[in-house]
Symmetry: C2
Subunit: 259 residues, 2 copies
């Protein structure tokens, strides 16, 4: 019996989930995926995600891997799963990957987007995916500040104080501020890894810059302080989306498939 390793790209509206990670008696993304996979395959399936998203955070392109010996053709997996999943959790794509692929460990970068609705009255149809912040923000100042964040830095000041990891050096490849006609401001970040609450604290800090409470050129000092209290506050989860997870191409390794 061939065991296949599958990479599954999933989207979810995080509003009604207690985050990605499985927790007893809570509605979680991992729990829901495992429950459906177990129902579909008749096997006890464990899912590993590229990263845990917090309660209320959304995803367009979260990635998970799992193993199964059920011979469902790869191209039919998305349909099978989507028929079993609730409407707020979707499978976008399923690909077969070599045994050494790991959703978290093989990831090279992640792209997140944080969206603010700066309109006086929030856009009703997008309210679940935007943080309502009805203030006038200066995007030019925010863009200047964002440039200081790109590169390799110790992000201690911009991550939750209770984060337990030792090494807080991460690389941001991009940090862009995008304006949209309809009172929306997107903060898009791409990086090789993100610390706990890091994107939400970057959002809160750039908003303080947009309000002119913090000057763009204060950012290097905030980073070098290595002190959470030097930065802005943690913005709420509803505006945050995990857009994409990037991997090195493993198609070249396809010969490794055991059959």
């Amino acid at each position: 019996m061939t065991v296949r390793k599958l990479k599954m790209t999933v989207s979810y509206d995080g509003t009604d989930y207690s985050g990605f990670q499985r927790q007893p008696d809570k509605r979680t993304v991992q729990g829901m995926l495992e429950e459906c996979l177990t129902r579909v395959t008749g096997e006890s399936v464990t899912v590993t995600g590229a990263g845990r998203t917090d309660a209320g955070v959304h995803a367009l392109g979260q990635v998970v891997h799992f193993e199964t010996s059920v011979p469902i053709p790869t191209e039919r997996w998305d349909r099978v799963m989507n028929a079993a999943l609730p409407r707020d959790l979707q499978v976008q794509k399923v690909e077969r990957v070599p045994p050494k692929f790991h959703a978290r460990k093989s990831a090279c970068w992640k792209r997140y987007r944080y969206t603010l609705d700066t309109g006086r009255i929030p856009d009703l149809f997008r309210r679940r995916f935007r943080t309502h912040y009805p203030r006038s923000l200066d995007p030019g100042q925010m863009k200047r500040a964002a440039r200081h964040l790109v590169g390799t830095h110790d992000f201690t000041s911009l991550s939750a104080a209770r984060a337990s990891v030792e090494n807080r050096v991460r690389t941001l490849y991009r940090c862009d501020i995008l304006e949209e006609e309809s009172n929306a401001l997107h903060i898009e970040v791409v990086g090789n890894g993100f610390l706990y609450h890091m994107v939400r604290i970057i959002a809160g800090t750039l908003v303080d810059v947009g309000l002119k409470k913090i000057a763009p050129d204060d950012l290097p000092g905030i980073l070098s302080a290595k002190d959470r209290s030097a930065a802005g506050r943690t913005f709420p989860p509803e505006g945050l989306v995990l857009v994409e997870v990037g991997y090195t191409p493993w198609e070249a390794e396809e010969k490794e498939f055991p059959s």
Copy 2:
């Protein structure tokens, strides 16, 4: 004590409402507005809408009127109401209108939009406001059929058989098919009045045209049959939005305000 008549433009996500019209023990838009107005004013307030939307149907610009003697300045009404309303029901605008204004009777036209998501997997973030219909539709054929609907016709074939009105002659000013990059197809109609389920049956019929089950030039025959069974099926409520209600300008009558 001056009684003021106010026109209020409201938006709602209809997903969790049993329609516009008040019903005992049900969550309805009218019921929610009246409950909030009564709480805010301390008066027993009745609200009259431009039209009733069915359970699950949304609105960007539904219009209601009501009377109150509470002297809240007109420009502050939206804030007062939005602070009291749930997140899926919003007040966009409040204007003072002359006593003879009536949300339904003074309306000249209404604009509705029906949106189909034709992607294989529905757009997760817009799923509450689109009907998922993963088929390939020919928009050119739909546009040709739509042209036959514009004008003054007896719309018996395109309204629910159980509709109780006598006169089923209505005028459609526009019936447009708009394509959007992301697998969305919008059917936009503007008319002087709409019969029960009329937009949802127009949507179902135009989809049959898009699938080439009905030819564009069959539309005149469908209309003249005056028989519900000649047309396509009633499409589900989630794709339907009441976008706007048009009135003749009454600003000229402002001198009529009793002060």
